[in-house]
């Protein structure tokens, strides 16, 4: 059973497209920001790993034309809120960073296929790098509420960049932070750490996002230890709905490589099926 089975949308259409009011938009640290939107109920049905397609308002010269995909970091239907953690990298996210409470922006979603978290799991392992942890963070309360233990390896450039608190939220989970600064995030070191966990307390599944190197490592260890894994991928998007075929990534299906759409077959894929790495810019 997948988590990603939202109740039927009240409007009759499963994907919402609505103006949302900004409640807060604050810097979390030097790199990342936290955006809280007031969203109508159909949008609050997002499940971990799903994303929204945000229309970034034109503030300056080089205004964003297309929408920007952003994983939901937190959904709180009781507060009519959806939340995002984002990194300012270009025109779209620069525009997001300029939003202030009271501003309105157009938001479409929830979109895509999220993480599969079987309620029967007892222990899951999460490996996140950089802003990838925003995508995985909603898994934490979901799992904890169902009594699933969570072990997480969080990788960042430096302790200042790590968003351990944002990741764990209010839950009691085991976190292993690793950093570029002190060399603990090197692949060899992370491998040793992972092997330790896999040997001592074999997880039922592994989830990852945010690093090609960690993906390759987890694919290898997943095969070796026979642990199922999932990964959330990114790709440039136009429609976000499965229409335009812009957002494909090569996925291995039955010995063949297929181009699958990150926006609807993904963003979450079977870790072992992902063929080849990809970097933006």
């Amino acid at each position: 059973m997948t988590v990603a089975q939202p109740p039927a949308a009240p409007t009759g259409f499963p994907v919402g497209n609505a103006p949302c009011v900004v409640r807060a938009n604050r810097a979390v640290n030097d790199r990342y920001r936290h955006l809280v939107l007031e969203a109508p109920p159909p949008l609050c049905r997002a499940t971990p790993g799903q994303f929204f397609h945000l229309l970034c308002p034109p503030f300056v010269d080089n205004e964003p034309y297309l929408r920007r995909p952003m994983s939901v970091y937190r959904v709180a239907p009781e507060e009519q809120a959806i939340e995002f953690l984002y990194n300012v990298v270009g025109a779209g996210t620069r525009s997001l960073a300029r939003l202030v409470a009271g501003d309105t922006m157009s938001v479409m979603g929830p979109l895509g296929t999220g993480f599969t978290i079987e309620p029967a799991y007892r222990h899951i392992l999460m490996v996140a790098r950089g802003v990838g942890l925003a995508t995985m963070a909603p898994v934490v309360p979901w799992a904890c509420r169902r009594g699933i233990r969570v072990t997480a390896i969080l990788s960042a450039r430096s302790p200042q960049d790590l968003m351990e608190r944002e990741f764990a939220q209010r839950e009691d989970i085991r976190v292993h932070p690793v950093f570029d600064q002190d060399g603990t995030s090197a692949v060899g070191r992370v491998e040793a750490l992972l092997r330790g966990i896999l040997d001592a307390d074999r997880p039922d599944a592994m989830f990852t996002c945010g690093s090609n190197r960690l993906m390759t490592l987890l694919q290898r260890l997943g095969t070796e230890y026979g642990v199922y894994g999932e990964i959330a991928l990114e790709q440039q998007m136009a429609c976000g709905l499965g229409v335009c075929l812009c957002c494909v990534r090569p996925i291995r299906v039955g010995g063949e490589i297929e181009h699958q759409r990150v926006c609807c077959e993904g963003p979450v894929f079977d870790l072992q099926q992902v063929a080849g790495t990809w970097r933006h810019g």
Binding site: F13, P14, V15, N17, L55, N62, P64, Y65, L66, R67, A91, S106, M108, Q235, Q236, M237, A238, C239, G240, L241, G242, V243, C244, L245, C246, C247, V248, R249, H259, C264, W278, G281
Partner: protein
């Protein structure tokens, strides 16, 4: 009430707004009622199986985007078996866009697509012609004529010929398509463009070049429609940069009987519905009883000087 219906050849559409090929699929049904559209135009299919172009396939530009999707295709049989039934429940006619590498393949594919459930064949002749050094069929009158007439012979259905804006002589191409028996023209496809990432020094598209679409190209597409309408008497379906109801009015005044909306649907998934409502409101506010009365009514007082 405004009468929104328009006649494209023998076919009457409930309204002039339809999607552009490659910018529509049944997934939009998650956001709005597909039955409200004048017609449903699907992504081009080719007889050969194709994977499409390398990634990245999209790049954002000022008021538009570049795409180099290519034409990933699971073949004609797959389309007939899987895609056609998806739209069976909708009252809007299904327009099957077809593309091929050679004239003969175009004809075969068209015949195979002419099944119940398909109302119109849209011939995407803006794709590379493998028999002519990879230049698109619609770059030259000869190859346009050859492709369209073969397609016409292969089907009892109406055939719409989709032209490329990359040609230097749109009027000659439009005339060739008309002579070859096209029932309507779709004007036009994307314009070839590119961008380069100044950090990596690499083209931003995996395929280096791609098609420019969106509001950035609207004035060019409108001019092409206007030029075609000067020379042909078959209906024209305008396409390029349409994002608002007033854009539809502009294209109709320039000579289009109907319009296709592409990229705007990526910005607002329900753009076509908004556009339709704006078009209706425009007519109501001005007491225009039939939207068809706008067609080719631009007030042009003198011959333009072209250069």
């Amino acid at each position: 009430m405004v009468d929104l219906s328009v006649r494209v050849g023998a076919l009457t559409l409930k309204n002039p707004v339809m999607p552009a090929s490659g910018c529509f699929s049944h997934e939009f049904g998650q956001v709005f009622d597909l039955g409200r559209l004048g017609a449903l135009v699907t992504k081009s299919v080719t007889p050969k199986l194709r994977k499409g172009n390398p990634i990245p396939r999209v790049a954002e530009v000022s008021q538009g985007m570049l795409n180099s999707i290519g034409i990933p295709s699971k073949g004609i049989d797959h389309y007939v078996r899987e895609t056609v039934p998806l739209f069976a429940a909708h009252s809007s006619p299904l327009v099957a866009s077809v593309s091929a590498d050679t004239v003969a393949e175009f004809a075969q594919a068209t015949a195979a697509l002419s099944v119940p459930g398909v109302a119109v064949i849209e011939a995407n002749i803006s794709c590379p012609n493998l028999e002519a050094d990879g230049h698109a069929f619609a770059m030259l009158p000869d190859t346009t004529y050859a492709a369209v007439s073969a397609i016409k012979r292969a089907t009892p259905l109406p055939v719409w010929a989709k032209l490329t804006p990359n040609t230097g002589d749109i009027k000659a191409i439009a005339l060739a398509a008309e002579r070859a028996g096209a029932d309507a023209l779709v004007v036009a496809n994307t314009i070839l463009g590119m961008t380069i990432d100044v950090n990596s020094f690499r083209p931003t598209l995996g395929n280096v070049m791609g098609g420019l679409s969106g509001p950035a190209i609207k004035p060019i597409a409108l001019r092409l429609v206007f030029q075609c309408a000067e020379v042909v008497s078959i209906p024209i379906i305008g396409c390029g940069g349409i994002a608002r109801g007033e854009d539809v009015v502009e294209f109709m005044l320039a000579g289009a009987t109907a319009v296709q909306v592409g990229t705007a649907s990526f910005v607002h998934a329900d753009a076509m519905i908004r556009i339709l409502e704006e078009l209706q409101a425009f007519c109501e506010a001005r007491g225009i009883g039939r939207v068809a009365d706008l067609v080719h009514r631009a007030r042009v007082e003198h011959e333009p000087i072209e250069w």
